[in-house]
C-alpha cells in the first residue's frame, strides 16, 4: 500500500481551521508531495464544527483516506469527536490549557502544548494554531525553514512585525516538540516535483478561461460559488466579463444571450439554482445556441444540506427542461479533470450548438488536490464549429437573403451567424420554427415542418456520440469484482481496488465520465464477462444504476450507496465489497464513522 500521512484539524468555524490547513498544503506541495484536502463543514459562519483532512504522500493522493496520523483539535468538541479514531502510531497535538483529551488508544501519542507559556495569548488569539503547526512539522521531520517561508508569505501584507511574531510562535512550538514529543515513525520525504494546489471550482473556472470563455455569470450558491470567486478575481486579467445576476433564471438567460451574440458563455450553480435554469436550457436547445452550465451537486432535495456532498442531481440533468433535445452531460473524475473537461465540453457544444452540463459535486468543487502544472495548460484546442462571424457569403443586405439559420442538414448542424453580420439576418425563436427561423405557428403549425425540425435537431445526437470516447475498464480483465462509478468517486474506488487486491480480491474499475452520450453498447460489451459488478454512488436511489438500466437493461450484482452528506472513504467500499462477495447483501450503505 502506498505511504501517506494524514492530518485532521478540527474546530469551530471562525477558529482558524483554514489557515493551518493552507500552511500545511503549501509546505507539502513545495516539498514535492502530492496532497488531497477535504473540509467537512456546516452552513454556519461562526461556531459549529469544521474538520479539515489533509492527506499527503510522494505518490498521487486521490482521496481523504481511512486514517488520521496527526489530529490537531482546536477545541474540546473536536477532540471529543475525533480522538477515538486515532490508532497506534498517531499523535494528537492540543492546547494543554483548554483541552482535556481523555484516554486514547494504545500507541497514540498525546502531545500537550503549554500554550500560555510558549506564547502571549493576549496578543495573538490564534497562537495555539501556529504553535501546533510548528510542533507538527517538527514531528514530521520537516525543517523549520519551509514554515518560515510560508508564514512570511502568509502575513506579508500585515507587515514585518506580524511576520516576526508568527515566526517566533511557530519556532517555539517547533522547538518544544523537538525536545518533548516523539517524532513520527515515517518522516515525510521530499521530491524534486512542485505542484499547484487547487479546488475543483478554481480548476473549472481556469478551464473556462483556457477554453476562451468571455462571459461568465452566476448567482452565489454553495458549493459552486468558488467558480464565481475565481472568475471575478481574475476577470480583468483574463478579459472575461463576469456578472453577478439577480437569480439563476437571469443567469442562464444572460449567458445564452451572450453566447447568441457570439462569445463562449458559462455559468455555475448547484441543484436548486439549476432547477430554475431548466427552462433556459430548453431555449439553448431550441435556438441552437451553445451554453455550458456547471452543476456542483450538494445533498438535496430542496435546500438540503448546503455544505455536504452528494451525486443526487443526475436525473435532474437527464430530465432538465421539457421536450426532447440533444444535450451533453459529463462528470469530471477528479480536480485535474475539472480543468480539462471544460474546453472539451465547449468544443462539443459549439460544434453541436446545444447545451452542455458539467456535473460536478461538492467533493471536487471544494476539495483541494495537488496537480502538475502541465495538467493546467491553457494551450487547449478550440473548435468553434460552424460559426459565421464575418460576411463571407455573397449574400446581400436585405429582407430575403438566402441564408437559412436552421438549414436542414444531414448532420443536423446548421451554420450559425451571429448578430451584426450583414446578409444573415434571422430570428432565433423558442417557438418551433422553419429553416429560416419563421415560427411555424405563424402558418398554422405545419406537422411536416415540425417533424423535419425535430429530426434535424435530434440527428446531432449521433454526431455527439461519435465525438466522445466510450469509457474504459481499468485493471485486470478477469477480476473477482468490477466496481462501477461515475464522476468524483474515481479516486476512492481506485484506492479501494488497490486495497482489495492486497487482500487477495482482484478488482477492476469502470468509471463513467461522459454520462450523455453514455455508450451503452460498449459498456454492455465491457461488462459481459465480469464476474461480479457493483455500482458505487453517493445517492439514495442508485441514480446511475437506474440510468444504466434504463439505457441498457443492465442490472449489476449489487450496489454500494452513501447519502449521509459525506464522501466515501476507501474502507467503506472495501468492507461493502467483501460483504457482497460473501453473499450477505446486494445493497450496502456504509456508515460514516466521523461525526462532522
Amino acid at each position: 500500500m502506498k505511504q501517506t500521512f494524514a492530518i485532521g484539524i478540527g474546530g469551530a468555524a471562525g477558529q482558524g481551521v483554514a489557515t493551518p490547513g493552507d500552511i500545511f498544503a503549501k509546505i507539502f506541495s513545495r516539498r514535492g508531495l502530492h496532497l488531497n484536502a477535504y473540509n467537512a463543514y456546516q452552513s454556519i459562519i461562526r461556531g459549529g464544527h469544521t474538520f479539515l483532512t489533509i492527506r499527503t504522500g510522494p505518490e498521487k493522493v486521490t482521496n481523504m483516506g481511512d486514517q488520521i496520523d496527526l489530529l490537531i483539535p482546536l477545541n474540546q468538541d473536536a477532540v471529543n469527536r475525533h480522538l477515538g479514531l486515532l490508532t497506534d502510531g498517531a499523535a494528537c497535538i492540543y492546547n494543554a490549557d483548554t483541552i482535556k483529551p481523555g484516554a486514547a488508544a494504545d500507541g497514540v501519542q498525546l502531545c500537550p502544548l503549554p500554550v500560555s507559556k510558549l506564547a502571549d495569548i493576549t496578543r495573538n488569539k490564534v497562537a495555539q494554531n501556529t504553535l501546533a503547526v510548528g510542533a507538527g512539522l517538527s514531528m514530521m521531520g520537516i525543517g523549520f525553514q519551509a514554515l518560515e517561508e510560508v508564514l512570511a508569505e502568509q502575513f506579508k501584507k500585515k507587515g514585518e512585525a506580524v511576520v516576526a511574531e508568527n515566526v517566533g510562535i511557530a519556532r517555539a512550538g517547533y522547538d518544544y516538540a523537538t525536545s518533548n514529543f516523539k517524532p513520527f515513525a515515517w518522516p515525510l520525504p521530499m521530491t524534486e516535483n512542485r505542484y499547484a494546489v487547487l479546488s475543483g471550482n478554481t480548476a473549472m473556472a481556469m478551464g473556462g478561461a483556457a477554453a476562451g470563455v468571455k462571459f461568465y455569470c452566476a448567482y452565489p450558491m454553495s458549493p459552486s460559488t468558488g467558480v464565481l470567486h475565481w472568475m471575478a478575481a481574475h476577470a480583468r486579467k483574463a478579459g472575461i466579463m463576469v456578472r453577478q445576476v439577480e437569480d439563476e433564471i437571469g443567469v442562464v438567460n444572460m449567458a445564452i444571450g451572450a453566447a447568441h451574440a457570439g462569445v463562449r458563455a458559462m455559468c455555475a450553480t448547484s441543484g436548486g439554482g439549476f432547477a430554475l435554469m431548466s427552462e433556459g436550457l430548453g431555449m439553448s436547445a431550441m435556438m441552437e445556441t451553445p451554453v455550458v452550465v456547471i452543476d456542483c451537486q450538494r445533498a438535496g432535495p430542496s435546500t438540503g444540506v448546503p455544505t455536504k456532498t452528494e451525486q443526487g442531481d443526475l436525473w435532474q440533468m437527464l430530465g432538465a427542461a421539457f421536450g426532447d433535445y440533444p444535450r451533453v452531460i459529463a462528470a469530471p473524475l477528479d480536480i485535474g479533470d475539472c480543468f480539462k473537461i471544460i474546453p472539451e465540453m465547449f468544443n462539443l457544444v459549439d460544434k453541436f450548438q446545444c447545451p452542455g452540463i458539467v456535473l460536478c459535486d461538492l467533493l471536487l468543487s471544494e476539495g483541494r488536490l495537488s496537480v502538475e502544472a502541465k495538467d493546467l495548460d491553457f494551450n487547449v484546442a478550440i473548435d468553434r464549429g460552424e460559426l459565421i462571424t464575418t460576411n463571407g457569403a455573397p449574400s446581400s443586405e436585405g429582407t430575403n437573403g438566402t441564408y437559412k439559420r436552421y438549414q436542414i442538414t444531414e448532420s443536423g448542424i446548421s451554420p450559425r451567424a451571429i448578430p451584426g453580420v450583414p446578409g444573415h439576418i434571422h430570428t432565433a425563436a423558442t417557438d418551433e420554427h422553419d429553416e429560416d427561423g419563421v415560427l411555424i405557428s405563424d402558418e398554422f403549425t405545419n406537422p411536416i415542418k415540425r417533424r423535419a425540425m425535430m429530426e434535424k435537431r435530434m440527428r446531432k445526437v449521433v454526431g455527439i456520440e461519435a465525438s466522445v470516447p466510450p469509457p474504459e475498464l481499468w485493471g485486470p480483465r478477469d477480476a473477482d469484482v468490477t466496481l462501477i462509478g461515475w464522476g468524483s468517486t474515481k479516486g476512492v474506488i481506485e484506492e479501494a481496488c488497490e486495497i482489495l487486491s492486497e487482500q487477495g480480491i482482484s478488482a477492476n474499475q469502470l468509471q463513467i465520465r461522459w454520462l450523455l452520450p453514455l455508450h451503452g453498447d460498449e459498456i454492455l460489451d465491457m461488462l459481459k464477462d465480469a464476474r461480479h459488478t457493483i455500482i458505487v454512488e453517493n445517492n439514495y436511489s442508485g441514480q446511475f444504476a437506474r440510468y444504466l438500466r434504463s439505457e441498457t437493461s443492465y442490472v449489476p450484482s449489487g450496489c454500494i450507496r452513501k447519502y449521509d452528506g459525506e464522501p466515501f472513504m476507501p474502507h467503506h467500499i472495501v468492507e461493502a465489497v467483501k460483504e457482497q462477495l460473501s453473499g450477505k447483501t446486494k445493497l450496502s450503505v456504509p456508515a460514516h464513522e466521523i461525526m462532522v
Binding site: G257, V263, D442
Partner: protein, 298 residues
C-alpha cells in the same frame, strides 16, 4: 486581404419589413408600435444587421418576427436578461426589447427591476394592453381594480403596478410613455430611447381590441396629454416625474417623463470592455498571464 465594403444602403420602410406579416388581431395596438419602430429605425438610418430585437412571450412578443433585424424570441419574461447578455457580448449592437405587460411586469418583474438599476444600454418597449391576450383574456399586472376578466370574473381586487413610478424608483435613466394611437409622438419617443445611452423604458398604451373592453382607443384618446405640451415640465426633475407618474384617470400624461445622462452604462462601467466588444476579442489569454494564474497556486 482586401475587403470589399459596400456603400451603406439608404434604408427605406420596405427594408424593415419582416419575413411574415403580423398575425395580431385586426385593430391591435401593436401594429402602431411596429410601424413606429420601423419608422424610427429608418429615420435614424441604423443598418438592420446591427439591430437585435429581443422579446419574451405573448402577443406583442411576436414582434421580432415582423421586423427585418436580427431577432430573438426568447422565454416568457426573460427578454431583458437575454438582452443584457447580448449587449455585454457585443455593445456595438443596437438592442431593442419588445414585449407585453404580463411578460415584463408579471413573470419578468425581477429582471425588469435589475436591468434598470444596471443601466443596460437598450430600449425596452412594453406594449401595455392591461390584459393577457395570447392566453385569451386574463387579468394582468396593469389591469385596473374592478376589471372583469376570465381569471377574475367578479372583478380584479388587486392593485395594479405603476410602471412609470417603478422605473423611476429602480433607477431607469430614460422613462417615457407613448400611445399607439399617437404615431408621430411615439416614433419620436422611440428615436430618443434608442439614442439615449443607458436603459430606456417606454411604456406604450397598445389597446387589445379583443379582450380589453375597458381601456380602448376611445377611452385613451381624450385622456392622454403630452408632457411636451407643458413648457414648464422638466424631465430632468426626478421628483416632478414621480408626481406626474401618479396621474391617472381623466388626465394621463404621455411623453418623456424623465431622463438623466450622468450615469454610466453597464458596458461603459466595465474596464474589461475598454478594448472593444467581447465578441471581437478572440485572442487567447497571453501565456505569461496564464502562467501567473498557475503560479499563484504553487
Amino acid at each position: 486581404m482586401a475587403t470589399v465594403v459596400a456603400a451603406p444602403k439608404h434604408l427605406v420602410m420596405a427594408d424593415l419589413k419582416g419575413k411574415v406579416d403580423p398575425d395580431w388581431c385586426p385593430g391591435c395596438g401593436d401594429f402602431g408600435v411596429l410601424a413606429a419602430v420601423q419608422k424610427a429605425l429608418v429615420e435614424l438610418q441604423i443598418p438592420t444587421h446591427q439591430v437585435v430585437t429581443i422579446s419574451g412571450i405573448g402577443c406583442s412578443s411576436n414582434f421580432p418576427g415582423y421586423i427585418n433585424t436580427y431577432g430573438m424570441h426568447t422565454l416568457h419574461g426573460r427578454a431583458l436578461a437575454v438582452a443584457t447578455g447580448v449587449k455585454l457580448a457585443n455593445h456595438n449592437l443596437t438592442v431593442l426589447v419588445t414585449g407585453g405587460d404580463g411578460d415584463g411586469f408579471g413573470i419578468g418583474g425581477n429582471h425588469f427591476v435589475h436591468t434598470m438599476r444596471r443601466n443596460v444600454d437598450l430600449l425596452y418597449i412594453v406594449m401595455d394592453n392591461q390584459i393577457y391576450g395570447l392566453t385569451t383574456g386574463q387579468t394582468s399586472p396593469t389591469s385596473r381594480v374592478g376589471m372583469k376578466t376570465k381569471s377574475m370574473p367578479f372583478g380584479n381586487i388587486e392593485a395594479p403596478v405603476n410602471p412609470i413610478s417603478m422605473a423611476l424608483a429602480a433607477g431607469a435613466t430614460f422613462i417615457a410613455r407613448g400611445f399607439s394611437g399617437e404615431q408621430k409622438h411615439l416614433t419620436e419617443l422611440i428615436k430618443q430611447g434608442i439614442q439615449h445611452k443607458g436603459f430606456s423604458f417606454l411604456d406604450v398604451f397598445s389597446p387589445c381590441v379583443t379582450y380589453n373592453h375597458d381601456n380602448t382607443y376611445q377611452w385613451f384618446r381624450p385622456r392622454v396629454k403630452k408632457l411636451e405640451d407643458d413648457s414648464a415640465y422638466d424631465p430632468a426633475n426626478w421628483i416632478a416625474a414621480m408626481e406626474k407618474s401618479l396621474l391617472w384617470g381623466e388626465e394621463i400624461p404621455i411623453g418623456k417623463f424623465f431622463e438623466r445622462t450622468d450615469v454610466p452604462t453597464l458596458h461603459g462601467a466595465e474596464p474589461v470592455l475598454n478594448a472593444g466588444p467581447l465578441v471581437h476579442n478572440a485572442a487567447p489569454i497571453p501565456p505569461d498571464v496564464s502562467r501567473a494564474f498557475v503560479e499563484e497556486l504553487m
